[in-house]
C-alpha cells in the first residue's frame, strides 16, 4: 500500500502531509507527556521489530507470500500513540533508505498506515476487547481490528489516488478494497497468532500501563478523531455520494464531520454522474458490509480456537481492570 512518488499531485501531497504532520505531532506530544522514560527505547526497538517482522514472509498460495503490516499489533502491544510513532518511523526509514514509498507521498503513507491504521484500528480494538473479556476478547478484537484497519487504510489510499486524478474511483475503490479485504484476513490471522503467542510466553507484555494514563487523554482522542474525520471528509466523502451502512465506524465518523469539512474541497471528479460509478461503488460498499460481518465471524472462530473461553477465567491475562 506504499504510494510511490509521482502518484499524488500537489494539493493531495500537501493536504496529506499536513494531516500526517499534525497526527504525528499529537502522538509525539501524548507520548512525551504520558510515556514513562523507561519505555522510550522500546519505541525504537519496536520500530526495528516491525521492520524485521515485515521481512518474514508468510507463504500464501502457489509461491506467493505476504507479510505482517503491524499497525494494530503495535497499537495493542504499546498503545495507539506509540503505534503512530513506531509505524511512522518505519515508513520514514523505508522511504529514505529503501526508496519504498515516495518522499512526496510520505505524508499520505503515514496518514493511511500509521494514523488510520494505528489509531482507527485501536478505536475498533478497544471497545470490542472491553465487550468480550479475557484473552478471547483480545484475540477476537485484534483480529477484527486488523482486518478493518487494513481495509480502511486501503480505502483512504484509493481516495487519495482518485483526488490526485491518477485513477478513477469506480476502478480504484473495488481494486484496492477488494485486494485488501483478502490481505486483511491474512493480517488479522497473523496479528491474532502473534498476540496469542506473546500472551502464552509473556502475558505481562499484553498489559501496558493503560489504566493509569488513559483517563486524562480525551484531548488526544479528540484530536485523532478530528484529523481522521478531516482526512476521510477530504478524500473519501466527496467520492462516495451515498455511503451505505457498511463499515459502521467510518460512516459514523463521516456523518459527524461531513457538514463541517465538506466544502473545503469540492468534489473533484467532473464525470461524477457516470452511470458506472454508482453501481460499482455501491457494490463495493455492500461487499464491504458483508466482508465486515464475515471478518468478524472469522475473528470469532479464530479467537475460539486460539483461546478457548472456558480457560480464560484462570488465565493471567484476564485480570480485572479498575
Amino acid at each position: 500500500m506504499h504510494i510511490p512518488d509521482g502518484f499524488l499531485d500537489s494539493k493531495t501531497a500537501v493536504a496529506t502531509g499536513v494531516l500526517a504532520a499534525a497526527g504525528l505531532g499529537v502522538a509525539l506530544r501524548h507520548a512525551r507527556r504520558h510515556l514513562p522514560p523507561r519505555r522510550v527505547p522500546l519505541l525504537g526497538l519496536a520500530a526495528a521489530f516491525v521492520f524485521a517482522a515485515q521481512m518474514l514472509n508468510f507463504p500464501v498460495l502457489a509461491g506467493t507470500s505476504g507479510h505482517l503490516i503491524g499497525g494494530v499489533l503495535t497499537a495493542v502491544l504499546l498503545g495507539p500513540s506509540a503505534a503512530v510513532i513506531v509505524i511512522s518511523a518505519v515508513l520514514i526509514v523505508q522511504c529514505l533508505m529503501f526508496a519504498d514509498g515516495g518522499i512526496s507521498a510520505l505524508g499520505a503513507n503515514i496518514f493511511n498506515m500509521a494514523i488510520i491504521g494505528g489509531t482507527l484500528g485501536w478505536a475498533i480494538y478497544y471497545p470490542v476487547s472491553r465487550v468480550f473479556k479475557g484473552r478471547f476478547g483480545t484475540v477476537l478484537a485484534a483480529a477484527f481490528a486488523s482486518w478493518c484497519s487494513t481495509v480502511l487504510a486501503a480505502v483512504a489510499c484509493a481516495g487519495e489516488l482518485t483526488v490526485a486524478g491518477k485513477a478513477r474511483w469506480s476502478v480504484v475503490l473495488p481494486a484496492m478494497a477488494g485486494v485488501h479485504m483478502l490481505i486483511g484476513i491474512g493480517e488479522g490471522l497473523i496479528t491474532a497468532l502473534v498476540l496469542s503467542a506473546v500472551a502464552r510466553a509473556r502475558p505481562e507484555l499484553l498489559q501496558p500501563e493503560r489504566p493509569a494514563t488513559a483517563r486524562r487523554s480525551y484531548g488526544t482522542v479528540l484530536a485523532y478523531g478530528v484529523l481522521i474525520a478531516l482526512g476521510l471528509a477530504l478524500f473519501v466523502s466527496p467520492l462516495a455520494s451515498k455511503w451505505p451502512d457498511g463499515l459502521d465506524k467510518t460512516a459514523e465518523v463521516l456523518g459527524f464531520q461531513t457538514r463541517a469539512a465538506g466544502p473545503i474541497m469540492p468534489a473533484p471528479i467532473p464525470d461524477y454522474a457516470m452511470p458506472g460509478i454508482h453501481g460499482s461503488v455501491l457494490a463495493t460498499s455492500i461487499a464491504g458490509a458483508v466482508g465486515t460481518v464475515v471478518a468478524f465471524v472469522l475473528a470469532w472462530l479464530l479467537a475460539r480456537t486460539l483461546a478457548p473461553r472456558t480457560r480464560t477465567e484462570n488465565s493471567p491475562s484476564s485480570s480485572p481492570t479498575p
Binding site: 526495528a48 508468510f58 507463504p59 515516495g102 507484555l205
Partner: protein, 203 residues
C-alpha cells in the same frame, strides 16, 4: 547480516558522497517535487532530469548493476499502481508518464540512500528541529534494525534445522511464534538499552 545490506554503497568516496547531507536531502526533495509537479506535457524536462541523474550516478561511482537491480526490484510496485491509470480516458499516455516520473523519483531516492549515511540524515533532521523523541526513535531503530534482522535470521535458521518442511497451516503458527519471540526479545533488549542509557547519563 552485514550492517550495510540496505545502503551498501553509502561509504564510498566520491564527489557526490562528500557533499553535505543536508544539501543532498534538500536537492533530492526539490528534484522529486519538481518531477512530480511537472505537467505531463513536458517530456523534454523529464529527459533533462534523467540526464542529470545519470551524470550524478556516474560521478558517485555506485556500480550500475546495483542501481538497475534496485530499480527493477521497486518497479513492480509502481507499475501495479500505474495500471489503475489505464482505466482513465487517455490512460495510455498517463501510464507512460507515471512510470517515467516514478522511475526518476525512485532513482533519486536510491541515489540519496546510497550516497548518504543514515546517521548524517538524522543529524540534519535534528538540526531542523524535528522533535527529539522522533529522532531518538529513528536512530534507535536504525541502530537495531540489523541486530533484529540478524536475530530473525538466526531464529529462522534454528527452526529450519529442527523441522522438516512445514505444512501450510503449521508454518503460519510457527512463523507467528517466531514473530512473537522477536517482539519479546526486542522488548527485553529495550529494557537493557534503557539501563545502559541511564548509566551513561541519558536525561
Amino acid at each position: 547480516m552485514s550492517p550495510d545490506f540496505l545502503d551498501r554503497y553509502c561509504r564510498l568516496d566520491s564527489p557526490v558522497h562528500r557533499l553535505p547531507a543536508g544539501w543532498k536531502l534538500v536537492a533530492a526533495l526539490a528534484l522529486v517535487l519538481t518531477v512530480v509537479l511537472l505537467p505531463p506535457a513536458h517530456p523534454l524536462w523529464l529527459g533533462g532530469v534523467a540526464a542529470g541523474l545519470v551524470i550524478t550516478a556516474g560521478l558517485s561511482r555506485i556500480p550500475w548493476m546495483f542501481l538497475v537491480r534496485r530499480l527493477l526490484l521497486l518497479e513492480p510496485l509502481v507499475i501495479g499502481v500505474a495500471l489503475l491509470a489505464l482505466f482513465q480516458p487517455g490512460g495510455g499516455r498517463l501510464f507512460v508518464f507515471l512510470v517515467a516520473k516514478c522511475t526518476l523519483c525512485l532513482l533519486t531516492m536510491v541515489l540519496l540512500a546510497n550516497t548518504t549515511p543514515f546517521a548524517e540524515l538524522l543529524r540534519v533532521l535534528r538540526g531542523v528541529r524535528v522533535p527529539a523523541l522522533l529522532v531518538t526513535t529513528l536512530s534507535l531503530m536504525h541502530r537495531y534494525l540489523f541486530v533484529l534482522a540478524d536475530e530473525a535470521q538466526r531464529m529462522r535458521r534454528a527452526r529450519l534445522s529442527r523441522t522438516f518442511t512445514a505444512r501450510q497451516a503449521r508454518s503460519w503458527r510457527t512463523l507467528a511464534t517466531v514473530v512473537s519471540q522477536l517482539f519479546i526479545r526486542a522488548s527485553e533488549r529495550a529494557e537493557r538499552i534503557y539501563g545502559a542509557m541511564c548509566a551513561r547519563g541519558w536525561r
